[in-house]
Structure formats: C-alpha cells, structure tokens
C-alpha cells in the first residue's frame, strides 16, 4: 500500500514525463484558464447581481432569439452535410483514382476557409454573376434570384465548407473498416444495401455520431459567412454575432463571456444528446481478423 502511494509521485516525476510539461502547461494556461475566467466573468456583470448577464440574455429581444436563428441554420445544414456525405463516401470507399481526385478537390474549399468562400459566392451568386445568367438563359426561374445577403446565402456557404469536411471525415472512418467483413457478408448472400445496413452502418455509428457533432458545432458557430453573406441585423443574426458585438462593439466582456458560455452550453447539450443516442448502437472493433 505504501509502495503504491510512493509510486505515483515517482511515476509523475520521471524524465520521460518532462517533454509533456510545456504543452500541458500551455493548454492549461491558455485554454482552460480563459474558459474558467470567462465563466467567472460572466457572473460578475457590469451592473446588477451575479445573474444579471444571463437574465439579460434570456429576456432581451435581440439576444435570446439568436439561439433559434442559429439552430435554424445549423441543424438543417448538419443533416444535409452528413446525409449527403454518408452515401457518397460509401460509394467511394474503395481506393481508386476517383477517390484520390475527389478528396483532393474537396480539400480545396476546406482549406480556403469561409471568408474566401463568402467572397467567391458574392461574385458568383450575385445579381450579375454567372449563376444568375445561367438561370436566365435556361429560363429556369424568371424573377431575380436572391442567394446572397439572406438565410440561403449563409446556408449554401455552410454546405460548401461543411460538406467536404463531413465527407472527408466519414471517408476516413469508412476506409478504416476492414473490407473483409463486407466480403464475408457477401459470401453469405448479403447484397450491397444489406452490407451497408448490417455491416457498415453499425460499425460507422460512433464515427457518424462524432462527425455529426463536429459538423454541428462548426455550423453553430458560423461567423464570417453570417456577416458577409447573410443579413446580420435580422434573419442571420446568429449567436456568435451577438457575442462579438457585446465584446467588441459594447466592450461588455462580461456579457460577451455569458453569451459564449450559453453558446458552449447549447453545443454541449446537442453533443450529449447525439452521443447518448449513439450508445443504442453496436460498439466494438471495426477491424476484423484474429486478435
């Protein structure tokens, strides 16, 4: 017993532990500490009692509706991105030239980032852009198309940046599943859809849940495209815009921290729900074979 107690500090002061110290210290000081600081700050408002910021958030007409505005964007976008990425990634799961080509091309919008996509969309989807001309030539729609400075602009930009992300993530999960499992099912007479339903889907469930969560939190914190492509005063006044305005336009860091905490809490809530429902599925190794 005494040995065990003594063993713990010795294990922690080993020389192979030293390399980890700077990174751990850095993360604690600059990730954990600001978060706790923000949490405390949100309970010490500029005026009023300790809950004043949160009371203000949930009563002010320009603050609490931002949660629904953001949800109305983030949830459909996440469903579209994951829902499209799953079948397409499944179709491309075998290593071919197409797979390499498509993954390389899809990395481009991810790497360019949302600001660049917003600028591109303003040029391309704008009233005199190519899309308006194509639609005009083909007589698909006679009125003017409005795809920028509204809800749809933000929605499309979130699909453009989010779909490649979801696709690449799901693809990396799918290619991690041993194809021998599906072949084994095929020899037992399972068709392609049966293989998908009974082999791939259960093995993918944890990865899909993770992908859904990551895609959701990304769209939930949309900022540049909501400002540049949306209507930041009205229909796309998302929660991150409210937090930004509180911090950098009103200089009320306390309120801004409170909004950031609410934002984090909503994300946590959705993630908890998704991961809890994940436990309804199979858990186990995704690679077959012995050992």
């Amino acid at each position: 017993m005494a040995d065990r107690v003594a063993a713990v500090p010795r294990a922690l002061l080993d020389r192979t532990m030293a390399p980890m110290v700077p990174a751990t210290l850095f993360m604690v000081l600059l990730f954990i500490y600001p978060f706790l600081y923000g949490l405390l700050l949100s309970f010490t408002p500029q005026h009023g009692d300790w809950l004043a910021n949160y009371r203000k958030f949930f009563t002010a007409d320009n603050l609490w509706p931002t949660i629904w505005t953001t949800m109305r964007l983030a949830l459909p976008v996440t469903l579209i991105n994951v829902g499209l990425a799953l079948p397409i990634a499944f179709k491309m799961r075998s290593k071919t030239r197409y797979q390499r080509f498509v993954t390389t091309v899809l990395v481009i919008p991810v790497s360019l980032g949302t600001v660049m996509i917003a600028e591109g969309m303003l040029t391309y989807f704008g009233p005199k852009g190519w899309l308006a001309q194509i639609v005009g030539v083909l007589h698909l729609y006679d009125g003017r198309i409005h795809l920028t400075h509204n809800y749809w602009g933000v929605m499309i930009s979130l699909v453009i940046s989010g779909f490649p992300f979801a696709f690449l993530l799901i693809l990396s999960y799918i290619t991690g599943i041993d194809p021998a499992l599906a072949r084994a099912a095929a020899t037992l007479g399972a068709g392609r859809s049966a293989q998908f339903r009974h082999i791939y889907l259960p093995l993918l469930a944890p990865g899909l849940a993770m992908c859904f969560c990551l895609a959701f939190v990304q769209s939930f914190t949309v900022f540049p495209s909501a400002v540049l492509l949306g209507a930041p005063a009205g229909p796309t006044r998302v929660i991150s815009i409210a937090a930004y305005e509180a911090a950098f336009e009103q200089y009320d860091y306390s309120l801004a921290s409170a909004i950031a905490m609410v934002m984090g809490f909503v994300q946590l809530l959705v993630i908890t729900v998704v991961l809890a429902s994940r436990s309804l599925f199979y858990r186990g190794p995704a690679v077959g074979g012995k050992g």
Binding site: L122, W130, G176
Partner: protein, 302 residues
C-alpha cells in the same frame, strides 16, 4: 439437370422469373442511385470551380457587368490591391505569424506527443482530453474568453497575442498527428542512445528527430495550411499591425463598396494562390482526409 443441381433447379419457373425481375429492378435502382450521387458530387464540384473561376475572372476584368465575360482584361487591380491593402506588409505579417506558429507548435507538440506515445500514467485520459478539446470546440466559443484574457494581459493586438491564440489549436494538432509516427519507432533505438549516455535532449535531436522527419514534415504542412486559413482566432485577437491575409480579406469584403470589387477579388486571388500552393505541397506528403480527421484512427493493415 443432374441430381445434385436439382436443389436450385427445383424452384418453380414463376418464382425464378420473379427473382430475376426483382434483380433487374434492384440493379436499376442501384444505377439510378449511383447516378444521383455522382450528379450531386459533380454539381458540387462544378459550382466550387465556378466560384473560384468567377473570383479569378473578376480580378482581371476591366469592366464586367452582366455579360458572360468581361469587356477587357487588365492586371491593374493587382497593383491597386497591393497598394490599397498594403499587401506587402500584410503578407510579411502572415509569414511571420504562420512561421512562428508552426515552429512553436512543433517545439512544444512533438515532445508532448513523445510522452503520450510512450508512457502510461495516471490521468493520461484527462491529458488526452485536454489536447482533443481545442480541436473539437470551435474557435469562436473559446476565442471570446481568450481574447478577454489577452486584452487584460495587453497581449491582444500584438503579434505575440495572435501567435499565442493560433497555437491553441495548432499544438494539439501536432500532437495528434505525431503520436502514431512516434509509436512506429523502435523503442530499442532510444534505449541504445541512453546506454551510450545521451540525455533526453541529445536523444531527441540525434535519434528521434531524424527518424521522425516525415511525420514532422506532414504535421508542419498541415498546421501551416490550417493556420493560413484560420480566421476567427486571428480576427478576435489581432490589432491593425498584426492582421493576417485572411483577416484583411474579411475587412475588405465587409467594407465592400469602399473599394472596387475587382480589387478585393485580386486580393482574394493572392490569398487563394498562397493557400493552394501550400496545399499542393502538403498533398504530396499527406492524405487529404488528414486535414480534417487529424489522426488515422485505424492504421491500415497491409
């Protein structure tokens, strides 16, 4: 039909015909579904291409109003953008910030990855969580409290503040990319170095770093590409003298109408060229899926 083949042959002809019809229907459905998915993909890629092409075309256009192609071509917007947005200093700031972030992320990330790959210790899962969270939590969520702290410390608005902010996702990213590379290295090499009297630093420099060169290259390229495009953290912490290219682009688009759209598009093209050149270089060494999925969670068996 022989006696052994009689089992399959025993099915009545109507049922066989029904089976065949079902197979035909299923294969038709498979084809339609496949075509639909390829169509979605093609539509997506074509539109991405058109978005990029539209920006590039506009940046070279002398006048472009409602026609398929501009009336004339010019390169003067590039000179205009270079001067208006002070791109030479913005690019220099970007190089300094990205370079510092990559170097510092490697310096603190690789050793940490070494410990995490080699050691088991109480609380390891907690430490792993500490390094995973900054990659999962979106930058805006922790960026606002972080910016508040950095403002209190008078670091926000300076280059150092921007570098520190960008390190928060970069260092964990290096750790997660490097861990599998370190796990592949034979432990006996380290032990041999120790036997010959090398300290931890010497062992790192003469044994591990040369062996890890491919991993370090991959990690630094991935961090580089991500840091160039990382908007939120720089936006929240940068001052006028510490803006990177992507933040300058944001402000230009935000204040659209002040400058000619072609001039903004010229800067956008410069930004794209910078990003895509590094992306192309990175693609030679890493798998595209690594840019989003951080680690190969299931190493492929061969």
């Amino acid at each position: 039909m022989s006696a052994t083949g009689g089992v399959a042959g025993a099915a009545p002809p109507q049922q066989r015909r029904r089976d065949r019809r079902r197979d035909v229907a299923r294969s038709w459905f498979d084809h339609a579904w496949g075509a639909f998915l390829w169509g979605v993909m093609a539509l997506f890629l074509i539109n991405i291409g058109a978005i990029i092409a539209a920006v590039a075309t506009n940046s070279f256009a002398s006048r472009w109003l409602g026609t398929w192609l501009p009336e004339g071509w010019t390169t003067r917007w590039y000179f205009a953008a270079w001067k208006e947005f002070q791109l030479s200093s913005v690019l220099w700031v970007t190089v300094e910030i990205v370079g510092a972030v990559v170097a510092l992320a490697l310096i603190i990330g690789v050793p940490a990855a070494y410990t995490l790959a080699r050691r088991d210790f109480p609380g390891k899962r907690l430490v792993m969580l500490l390094f995973l969270l900054p990659l999962m939590v979106p930058p805006i969520t922790y960026g606002i409290p972080l910016a508040t702290v950095l403002y209190r410390l008078h670091l926000a608005g300076t280059m150092n503040g921007v570098i520190i902010a960008n390190l928060i996702p970069a260092a964990p990213f290096v750790i997660l990319v490097m861990t599998p590379f370190i796990e592949q290295i034979d432990r006996n090499l380290e032990l041999a170095a120790r036997v010959f009297g090398a300290g931890t630093l010497k062992m790192f420099w003469y044994v591990l770093v040369p062996l890890l060169a491919p991993g370090i290259l991959a990690a630094s390229l991935l961090v580089l590409v991500r840091t160039i495009a990382l908007f939120e953290l720089t936006f929240l912490t940068a001052g006028p003298d510490s803006q990177t290219l992507v933040v300058t682009l944001y402000y230009a688009v935000f204040a659209a109408g002040v400058r000619a759209p072609q001039s903004i598009d010229a800067m956008a093209v410069i930004y794209m060229v910078v990003t895509l050149v590094w992306l192309l270089i990175a693609m030679r060494f890493v798998d595209p899926t690594q840019l989003v999925s951080r680690v190969k969670e299931h190493p492929r068996r061969t």
